[in-house]
Symmetry: C3
Amino acid sequence: MRKEDSVFGTNGVRGRRVGVPSQPVLPMPVQPMPVPVQPKSKSAHFVATEHTGDNKKHLLLAASGSVATIKLPNIVNALSRYNDLSIRIIITKSAENFLAGQSEEQPHLDSLLQEKNVDGIYRDEDEWAKPWVRGDGILHIELRRWADLLVIAPLSCNSMAKMTMGIADNLLLSVVRAWDTTGDIGGSKKKCIVAPAMNTAMWEHPVSKKQLKVLEEEWGWKEKGDAWVEVLRPVEKELACGDSGNGAMREWSKVVSVIEERMDLKDKDKK
Amino acid sequence: MRKEDSVFGTNGVRGRRVGVPSQPVLPMPVQPMPVPVQPKSKSAHFVATEHTGDNKKHLLLAASGSVATIKLPNIVNALSRYNDLSIRIIITKSAENFLAGQSEEQPHLDSLLQEKNVDGIYRDEDEWAKPWVRGDGILHIELRRWADLLVIAPLSCNSMAKMTMGIADNLLLSVVRAWDTTGDIGGSKKKCIVAPAMNTAMWEHPVSKKQLKVLEEEWGWKEKGDAWVEVLRPVEKELACGDSGNGAMREWSKVVSVIEERMDLKDKDKK
Amino acid sequence: MRKEDSVFGTNGVRGRRVGVPSQPVLPMPVQPMPVPVQPKSKSAHFVATEHTGDNKKHLLLAASGSVATIKLPNIVNALSRYNDLSIRIIITKSAENFLAGQSEEQPHLDSLLQEKNVDGIYRDEDEWAKPWVRGDGILHIELRRWADLLVIAPLSCNSMAKMTMGIADNLLLSVVRAWDTTGDIGGSKKKCIVAPAMNTAMWEHPVSKKQLKVLEEEWGWKEKGDAWVEVLRPVEKELACGDSGNGAMREWSKVVSVIEERMDLKDKDKK
Ligand SMILES: Cc1cc2nc3c(=O)[nH]c(=O)nc-3n(C[C@H](O)[C@H](O)[C@H](O)COP(=O)(O)O)c2cc1C
Ligand SMILES: Cc1cc2nc3c(=O)[nH]c(=O)nc-3n(C[C@H](O)[C@H](O)[C@H](O)COP(=O)(O)O)c2cc1C
Ligand SMILES: Cc1cc2nc3c(=O)[nH]c(=O)nc-3n(C[C@H](O)[C@H](O)[C@H](O)COP(=O)(O)O)c2cc1C
C-alpha cells in the first residue's frame, strides 16, 4: 500500500506490477543519458523473413533477473564493432529493473538501441502488443526463426529452473521452449549459450546440480547430435551482495569472446 | 512504453500487468458483435451444491494460451445442441488474448455466455473477487466439485509443464491440482482430458516427452484404477505460425466427439 | 468484471491482476482495527548486519496462499511473549488476500506490526522498491543472513511445488533458493520448517508424494549432515472448503511449540 501510493500516485506514472516497477520511482542519483524514444518499427510486428537477406549474423541476446544484467551494456557495446552482426535483446521483467537509468553503469535499457548493432528490444508485453489474428506472426517464433544463436547472459536461478522444466511463462522462456533443438523445423540446428549468475547459496542449492545436469548432460553442447546447450559455468568471486563464492557470471568479456567464436565473427572494424 | 500509455491512460488508474492486457488496446479491424454485459449471477459466488439437482451433465471446459483457443467458440457452439449439458469455462490470462473480439472467428470471450449451455466463465481474478472469510466457498474447489469432466483444450506447453509438476499459480492449475483423481474425496472419480497444442518445436522439445510420459503413463486414463488423464495427442499440420509439423491441436470436432462419448451425451435436439 | 470496475475506475479499463488485489476493494463487513501506518524504517533498506548485535533470536516467518494464513496472527501473538525474539514476516501475493481486515480473525496484515516482536513485513514489491545500484543490499539475501530459522506456515501446494524445483519467482521463493543449506556461506547452517496446508485432493494428488519425498528424504532435517528441511505434515480434519481429510495445516499452537523448541526460546514473560 505504502508502495502503491508512490508508484501509482496521481501523476499517471505507469507501473509494471508483479511487484516490479519497470521504471524506478524513487529519486535517482544519476540520470546519465536521456532515454531515446524507441522507434516503433524496431520491435513491433517483427517478421523474421524480412531479415533473411540482410547478410548479417543474428544474435538473440537475453538477460534474466540477476544483478549481472548490468553487464549487458558492456556485452552489447563490445559487439557493436562488428559490421556483419545484428542483435536483438530479450529482457525479463525482473532483469529490466537493473537497467532503468539509475546510475552510470546502469543506463536505461532503451538506450541500448543507440548501439550500432542493436535492432530490437523485446519485453513480455510485446508478445501481446497487437491482438493476434490469423496470419499474424508470433513473436517468440519469429525471434527463434530469426536467430542464429541464443545467448542468455545472465541466466537467473529462476529462469534456469524453469528452462530445464519447459515452463514458458514469459517471452524468453517461450523462445527457449520453441527452440529448434534439432534443426528439423527450420533446417538448421540452433545453439543456445547460457551464463548462470546467482548468489553462492542459490548456486550451491541442491536443485542446481540437477538443473545443471539437464543443461550439460542431457542437452549439453557436445559432439553428439542432439546437443544444443552450452553452459558458461559461473565463477568464484565476491558477489554484489557481499557473499564470496561460486555463482558469479563469467566475465562479460569472456561471454563476448565465446559469442565471437561461436558465431565466427570476424568483420571487425574500428568504431 | 508505447503500450502503457494507451492502457493506463492519463487518469493514473493503476493496473496489474503480467505483460498481458486483458483487453486489446490497438485499433481492431473487425468488431463482429457487441460484448454482452455479463450477468453477475453467472460467475460470482458460485456454489456447486446449488446445481446438484439440475439433471445436467457438468462440463468444465478450459483453454490455455495457445492459438488453438480460437477453436473454443466452435467447441462450445457444437455442444450447445444438448439439453442436458451445462458448461463452465475457465480461461487463462494468456488464452484470453485470443478471444477479444478482434475478428469474426475470434469473438469476445464473454459473448460465449450467449450460447445455450454456457453457465459461467471464470478468470484468475474470480478466485479472489470477494475477500475470503470463513464459510465462503473456494472457487477452484467448487468448480471441481461441480464438474463431471474437465477438458483442457487447448493445453499450452506452459500449462502442460506446470500441470505435470503440480504448480498451481492460476485458477486452472489450482483446479487441476485439486482434482479428485481417485474419487476418494467427492465419491466419484473424475477424469480430465487434455489436448496439447503448440508449435512443432515446442512439441519436439525434449521436455515434452517427459511430460507426456507423466500424463499418459503415470496418470493416463487406462483401465487401471489410478488413471485419470486422457491425452488427445496433437496432430501434424501447417501451424498458425507457418511451421509445419506435429503440435497442432486435434480438430475441434474431434474434441467435441470425444466429449460426447466420454460424457455419454445423447439428448440431442435441433437448435 | 464487477471487480474491475471498482479497482480501475469508471472508464471501464480493466486490468490484469495476478488474481490478487493487494487491498480488498469490496465493502468489508468488519473492519476490526485501524491499519497502522507502517513506519518505512521497518521494511525499507533492510540490512542484516545492523541487527547482528541485538541479542535476539531471528525468526523469518512466511505464509503462502493457503486459507491457513488466517492462523498467522495467532502464531505471531503467541510468540510475542518472548523478550529475546525478533520476527520478520514474508507474505506471498496470494496469502495477503487472507489478511485484509475482512473479519475479526482476519485483521489487516499490517496490523501485525503492532505485535511486540514483529519488526518487519515483506512483500514481493519490497525486493524492487528502490532501483538497485552497486553497493545496495538485496532483500532476499539480507533476510536469509538475518534469519536463524525460516518457517513457512502455511506452505501452499503451489509454493511446495516451486520450492522443490528451485523456482524463485517471488520474494519467499528467492529466500528459499538462496537458503544457506550447508552453512558454508554464512558460517552456520540454517534450518527451514514448512507446514503444508491444502485441500485434501491437492494433498492426495500424485505430485505431492514426489515433492514430500524431496523435502523429507533429500533435504530432510534428520541427523545427517546435509539436512536442512523439517516438514510438519498436515493433519486430517474438516477443511475450510468443506472437504474432510488430510491436508489441513498442523494446529497453529503446534507450529508455535515447534518454533519454541527449535529456537530454544525461554525468556518467557507475562505480556
Ligand atoms: C536486487 C536483486 C538482485 C538479484 N540478483 C539475482 C542474481 O544475481 N541471480 C539470481 O538468480 N536471482 C537474483 N535475484 C532474484 C531474481 O530476480 C528473482 O528470482 C526473479 O524472480 C527472477 O526472474 P526471471 O528469472 O524471470 O528474470 C535478484 C533479485 C533482486 C531484487
Ligand atoms: C500469439 C501467440 C500465440 C501462442 N501460441 C501458443 C501455442 O499455440 N501453444 C503454446 O503452448 N504456447 C503458445 N504461446 C505461448 C503461450 O501463450 C505462453 O507460453 C503463455 O505463457 C502460456 O500461458 P498459460 O499456459 O498460462 O495459458 C503463444 C503466444 C503468443 C503471444
Ligand atoms: C479462497 C482460496 C483459498 C485457498 N486455499 C488454499 C489452501 O488452503 N492451500 C493451497 O495450497 N492453496 C490454496 N489456494 C490456492 C492458492 O492460493 C493458489 O494456488 C496460489 O497460486 C498460491 O500462491 P502462492 O503459493 O504464491 O502463495 C486457495 C485459493 C483461494 C482463492
